[in-house]
Symmetry: C2
Subunit: 349 residues, 2 copies
């Protein structure tokens, strides 16, 4: 198609509409927002012209005037990770349903970026900020970040997944303890006693909570806690792979592996296969997050799900409630459930 010169065609404004309709801009604005009544015939005339030009009011001007942008900023650690992507999309849908839109800021796990993204969202005058994952989950939160967050909380509601007590934010967190309880009951119920945990970092709150629950569950069932059964990692496939390699070299191999997420589990699956063992006949694997990765792998993973739609809606509803000044719980919980698939089974004799 031939490309005419990008002609910077004058964008049409509310004043243009007003002039053509023979009314004032105020009246057009009233029709647009429905904030006050306008004589029927005028209203229809104006609407016709709006329609004709497909006029859409400038969001910048509107936001400047309103001091509300009807926009929620979402900071995600890395949108390429399906866990964050799923949660982001359900936030987006929940926000839309409530008449808000959502702007994404990707921190990519870089501390400096995370601070910049906060600045960026504040400059954009978002009405609230939702942070999913990232720095807020870190036990050793950086001070400049916490300080910035504290500042922001003075003017803008902040809702985070996980928990942070260095700034007055609202939180919607996964009940990690319960999630691990469910997994351990599942595995122990299948006869497993040699249970390993692989792929996470203990300085991350969510992982730390899971670890504690892991230990508690073992104790409760009178099973000895073995240090060499817990292997740290970086939440990626390689971590799961290398961690599992180590586990399989132990004189007493575990019969079940709890991976910190589906990515780590994929690595575990690979390691097990390379050792000539079968899942779940020889070793069971279970993980957290139930992203689509769990469904793609062979065998399909048994994994902990959080009902992402509901999770996202809780985050958004909380943000909007605080925006509107309604009373809201400071700390809410998302309840996990187990999706049983092909990767777990009875412990070998």
């Amino acid at each position: 198609m031939e490309k005419e010169k990008l002609n910077t065609a004058k964008t049409i404004t509310i004043y243009d509409i007003a002039k053509e309709a023979g009314v004032s801009a105020s009246t057009v604005s009233r029709v647009l927002t429905g904030s006050a009544s306008v004589r029927k015939e005028k209203k229809e005339r104006i609407q016709k012209i709006i329609e004709k030009y497909n006029f859409k009011p400038n969001a910048l001007a509107k936001g400047l005037s309103d001091t509300s942008t009807k926009t929620i900023g979402v900071i995600a650690a890395d949108i390429r990770n399906p866990f964050y992507a799923s949660l982001f999309v359900s936030c987006e849908l929940a926000a839309e349903a409530a008449g808000y839109s959502v702007v994404l800021a990707n921190s990519l796990g870089v501390k400096e970026r995370e601070v910049n993204q906060l600045d960026y969202l504040m400059q954009q005058r978002v009405d609230a900020i939702i942070q999913i994952g990232g720095r807020v989950d870190d036990l050793v939160t950086d001070d400049s970040y916490a300080e910035k967050l504290r500042d922001i909380c003075k003017t803008t509601p902040v809702v985070v997944t996980g928990k942070i007590d260095k700034a007055p934010v609202y939180s919607v967190s996964i009940n990690q303890t319960k999630a691990m309880d469910i997994i351990m009951e599942h595995l122990i119920g299948l006869g497993h006693e040699k249970i390993a945990m692989v792929g996470g970092l203990m300085r991350v709150v969510s992982t730390y909570n899971k670890y504690n629950s892991y230990v508690e569950n073992l104790k409760k069932h009178g099973i000895a806690v073995k240090g060499e059964y817990v292997i740290n990692g970086n939440y990626d496939p390689v971590s799961g792979y290398e961690g599992t390699n180590k586990l399989l070299e132990l004189s007493e191999q575990p019969t079940a592996i709890v991976a910190i997420n589906d990515f780590a589990a994929s690595g575990a699956l690979r390691s097990i296969r390379e050792h000539g063992l079968r899942v779940p006949e020889d070793i069971s694997v279970v993980s957290f997050d139930n992203t689509y990765t769990a469904d793609i792998l062979s065998p399909k993973l048994t994994s902990i799900d959080y009902d992402y739609d509901h999770f996202g809606k809780m985050l958004v509803d909380t943000a909007i409630a605080v925006i509107k000044g309604q009373k809201t719980d400071d700390n809410q919980m998302v309840e996990p459930r187990l999706v049983f698939r092909e990767s777990t089974g009875k412990a070998p004799d």
Copy 2:
């Protein structure tokens, strides 16, 4: 942490800074933007105050005044798909490097949403729009969408992946023909002649191009084109699974399967395994996109890669060039390359 009432603390403006520094707002603005020189002592005084309050100018006011927001809107079909997510992130990084920021609009493949997202981005006064995937790829593009796009092109540069000739957009497209050439040469070089193609829809331009190249390559090598070796699908794991099931029921099973993307390939892998066959000893599988999925599966997938960083940078550079009124190629190509992994091998005898 105790939650003080969200106190709507007056957000600080350029006027507040000006007053405290004993200068006019104009002067503060000049310091902020560096648009004109300011006496050194004053400048330092002002900077100190800006620093002290960590003042960041209101992006809405700035955009309104400038009529440029230094923002590029990106419409992606579904950010949960790792192909789009990777491309989005590299667009984001390229934009940042050029002093722009990026706002994501997720169409989720819903036609109506796609049109709304265009409106939304225009209301936000983005300086350009990049559309990755989605409606623009569709051969039977909807008219209301094309019309809107044509309208937008009058005022705002639009860059799309794929090609569309119903609106004067710029395009950066993958050389699909070349991509399929590479795959076919790879497979035929390994001795394969019974080659199937699975998982895509022929009304999608990119798939159609691949199909044509598939046929050409077979002909070139004097291999008969068999209709039953091409099975449509919806780009997801289930399509790959069911399509491969059909292929394996044929009296003459293929020895190689070209999946339309890594998702479809994951389904193919599952089907093959369930039929008691091995990859790549009995059947080779190769796919397009080289998302991380390719690296997670066992065996790891041989897949076509596009160098996402470069791809994203081309999209953004093109958008920015058009914004700046520089001359730019209407149609650019991204060259594919094969990443050889574990899922392809010599044809069985």
